[in-house]
């Protein structure tokens, strides 16, 4: 799907929200839901930043690190990929305090979701690095580059392009996982909706708005990643078009 179609969808989603907001049965809930959405965005954004950092670090450690670092990275990836995000949230929030480690709910949410998605992300980064043609390494050796120079100047820029689409998927996954944070006392978009629904029983307007807001947020991510992909592969695709 082209960027234009996606932008079109986003515009429609926002227009429908705006249109519905002209009716009091809907506009009543909008301020509260947007407040919840703000928390969802904050967690998703910070979680994504942490996920990228952890993904890149774990991938580099597993590929090029000394043995102990490789083990640490492997253990991290397997634990956070192999258990559910919900269990990880509970562990960080309810179990760790038993051992004297106390964190506020927001920090736990960002940490758990960031570490969880980062574990998946490390496989994306690793795969993208390994997918760069061996000839690129060989040419870099023939030009006498150091390992760090090869990675920074030759390998990672090419791997970067390949990892943008799968990271887009992971960011959307992370956005949707934020709905779990209501279980550790945070009032995100999903929780706000449930609260309102329980007190008013206006299920249709509340969940129609929630659906549209989530859709708009994930469309923003998709459009952003598409844009990034186009920019990053500018040189390569210019060639293909010629």
């Amino acid at each position: 799907m082209g960027i234009r179609t996606l932008v079109g969808m986003l515009v429609v989603a926002l227009a429908v929200i705006g249109l519905l907001a002209t009716q009091t049965s809907y506009s009543l809930f909008l301020p509260g839901l947007l407040e919840g959405a703000l928390l969802t965005i904050e967690i998703a954004l910070l979680g994504s930043v942490l996920a990228v950092i952890m993904g890149v670090l774990a991938a580099l450690a597993r590929l090029y690190g000394p043995a102990p670092l490789r083990w640490v990275a492997t253990v991290y990836v397997e634990i956070f990929r192999g258990t559910s995000a919900l269990v990880q949230l509970f562990w960080l929030f309810f179990v760790l305090p038993q051992f004297g480690i106390l964190m506020d709910a927001f920090t736990v949410a960002v940490l758990a979701l960031g570490l969880n998605v980062g574990a998946y992300g490390s496989e994306v980064v690793r795969g993208a690095i390994l997918a760069v043609a061996p000839g690129q390494w060989e040419a870099s050796i023939a030009l006498n580059m150091s390992r760090a120079q090869m990675l920074r100047r030759i390998i990672l820029p090419q791997a970067f392009i390949a990892m943008i689409p799968p990271w887009g998927n992971l960011f959307i996954e992370l956005l949707k996982s934020t709905a779990l944070v209501s279980l550790i006392t945070l009032t995100d978009l999903a929780f706000k909706a449930q609260q309102m629904n329980q007190s008013t029983l206006k299920t249709v307007p509340i969940f129609t708005l929630v659906l549209l807001i989530y859709l708009a947020m994930s469309l923003v991510i998709t459009i952003g990643m598409r844009f990034l992909e186009q920019r990053a592969s500018a040189g390569l695709s210019r060639g293909r078009a010629a």
Binding site: Q136, A142, N144, G235
Partner: protein, 259 residues
């Protein structure tokens, strides 16, 4: 007093598990000498170049460059396997051009040629760009300097690759079947550049090739490899004109029939 050879393979062996690719290779190449390596596929000829470029490790023997060990370094009077710092210092004298070009696809022709001079040699961007422009001019691609590899033909890409290798000012250039991936009509332009390079620069050249005509005309010496060993070597006139070894005769006959 003879000069030290530019490259010396001293009893070098390469094995992959039970398979011996090169078996006790000894070969000296003089400064400025142009040596062609021919032979059937699987005879170990490409491995010779890859070992010299340190793309492959060796199992036995020592490779020397200008009288200095490349694969080893001296420690307490003995030769021990070289560390990366030593390898990089000696390797700086060697450049290589590959069968599949291996240009960096995310960089323009000019950027391909200035990347290593800036990051590895520490050249100033302006100086590196000047030098790269000269080299791209030499290979006849001045107008293509801002093109990406995917916008260039195979022959053009290979000429950029040659310019990129030259930008590091190597003393030894390795050409690994550099025309094998090209459409027939593009082979000539690449060979022309190599010819010019040999004429105008004081380079020692080692090339693996299937272009027998070019090997005959261009090289000082031709080595015929068979099953991991040099089966026969000599000046091109002799090797092509009157091969002594039956294997060489068979190979040349087969190649000529195919051509």
């Amino acid at each position: 007093m003879t000069e030290k050879p530019m490259v010396r393979f001293d009893n070098v062996s390469k094995r992959y598990g039970a398979l011996t690719v090169l078996d006790g290779l000894s070969l000296d190449i003089a400064r400025g000498e142009k040596v062609s390596i021919i032979g059937p596929s699987g005879s170990g000829k490409t491995t010779v170049l890859r070992m010299l470029m340190t793309l492959e490790t060796i199992n036995d023997g020592v490779i020397w460059v200008e009288g200095e060990p490349l694969t080893h370094m001296e420690k307490g009077g003995k030769l021990v396997p070289a560390n990366l710092a030593h390898i990089r210092r000696v390797r700086a004298k060697i450049g290589m051009v590959f069968q599949s070009f291996n240009l960096f696809p995310h960089m323009t022709a000019l950027q391909n040629c200035i990347e290593a001079p800036i990051t590895v040699l520490g050249m100033k961007r302006k100086d590196a760009e000047e030098r790269a422009a000269e080299l791209l001019n030499m290979v006849g691609l001045s107008e293509k300097k801002d093109h990406y590899p995917s916008q260039l033909s195979g022959g053009q890409q290979q000429r950029v690759a040659i310019a990129r290798a030259c930008a590091m000012r190597p003393k030894i250039m390795l050409f690994d079947e550099v025309t094998s991936a090209l459409d027939p009509e593009l082979v000539g332009e690449v060979l022309q550049v190599i010819r010019q390079l040999g004429r105008e620069h004081d380079l020692t050249m080692l090339m693996v090739t299937h272009q027998m005509g070019f090997a005959k005309e261009f090289s000082d010496r031709v080595c015929f490899f068979y099953q991991g060993k040099i089966c026969e070597q000599g000046p091109p006139g002799e090797l092509f004109g009157a091969p002594k070894n039956e294997r060489t005769r068979q190979f040349l006959r087969a190649v000529l029939e195919a051509g």
